[in-house]
Symmetry: C2
Subunit: 208 residues, 2 copies
DNA sequence: AATGATCTTGACCGTTTGGTCAAGGCTTCC
DNA sequence: GGAAGCCTTGACCAAACGGTCAAGATCATT
């Protein structure tokens, strides 16, 4: 089947692009990982750039999927918890995709600039409106929504993009499921308390 | 002077590596930006990799400088405010350095793995101990220090690494000084409130 | 079984890139 | 003024890379 073969190539491409960047990745490496000769890869994807575009589009769709979880509820605690949780899950399950995206932004988005200016901009503007309404309704503290969103993006994606650093600081081992869950709860806890959406976590009694 | 020439080359190299990644950057581009022929560049830095190492080392030293600001005070509010503020300033003043660093981690740190395993690991462990003491003393809420640090790193560096995305969402314009200051205050405010180090920001009265 | 369409592949090509080299300046010190 | 060391540079090279191509293999349809 054509679709399956393409899918296998795309999967290999995502891994190689994530590890080596657009320029650093070679069609030969991708072909080898996909288990086919380079010439065959070029039969399915005429150019390296076309292949890369497909990889980036796939990643953007995953991002869109997560974005929807923002709207699961109109309650700030539920909505933000769901959104952060979903973004953390993506970082754990699709770290390579996140890395390709990060690479693309880092290099000034030569391929996906149009997505940034349309879909991402629209989504962001509408969610800023939602957050501003929550503030007006006194449901969260008056924080600048824009920078709150950046904080959520940065923090959640960090667990994918910088997973090598995290692993190194974890003794060279990836975070266990329990550790990752603790990270997720920490992130959600700090952000929700930070915007006054849920009561602050109680401090301990001073030790002495 | 040798030192000045090397410095000019390193500056050009940092810019080009930040924009194009290690592989994407060419010694020809770096030489052109530095205003010298490529052969001359190779007189000062025999290989591309040697040049890259020097760039990365420079960036790591800037990071170390910021790391020190963590110890300006033993008060959590002051220490974390100073540290976050300093990291935000670096993101604004040296975005290219941060990008080179991000690229390096993204690609599994082929060049600076030893720094991660020594200096960074030691620094992190000792600061985790400090934060744990604050928790034991009841000065901040019991959050996992490790994930708090990651959150600070991710959020502050985001303003350098993803500045292209931020600019795009800001109508294609870089954040103004006022906007950037607001971002910084938002980040500090959310994190400090999030860990119960300072009283939560008061919510507005509900509008109706 | 024949025919045409689709897929597979080793060999090949032009371009780009990191790096070399030899010839020529420039500066310094006797 | 000349010798020695340092710096500069255009021309060049080998390797790697994206992409092509033509010849063959496989498959579907009748």
């Amino acid at each position: 089947m054509r679709a399956e073969k393409e899918s296998a190539i795309l999967q290999a491409a995502e891994a190689v692009f994530a590890d080596y960047g657009y320029k650093g990745a070679t069609t030969g490496m991708i072909a080898e990982l996909a288990g086919i000769p380079k010439a065959n890869l070029h039969y399915y994807f005429p150019t390296k750039e076309a292949l890369y575009r497909r990889v980036v589009e796939h990643i953007f769709n995953i991002w869109l999927d997560a974005a929807n979880s923002f709207d699961e509820s109109d309650d700030p605690v539920e909505a933000l918890s769901a959104y952060i949780s979903k973004k953390m899950d993506i970082s754990r399950d699709h770290p390579m995709g996140s890395k390709v995206w990060a690479n693309e932004i880092l290099h000034r988005a030569p391929v996906i600039q149009d997505y940034l200016e349309t879909t991402l901009r629209d989504w962001t503007a509408s969610r800023i409106a939602v957050i501003n309404r929550w503030i007006a309704e006194g449901r969260i503290a008056p924080v600048d929504p824009q920078y709150l969103l950046y904080m959520i993006w940065a923090t959640t994606q960090h667990y994918a993009d910088f997973n090598h650093q995290i692993d190194t600081l974890n003794g060279g081992e990836p975070l266990s499921d329990a550790q990752f869950d603790r990270a997720k709860q920490t992130v959600i806890g700090i952000i929700l308390a930070g915007i006054g959406a849920s009561p602050a976590i109680a401090r301990k009694e001073a030790a002495e």
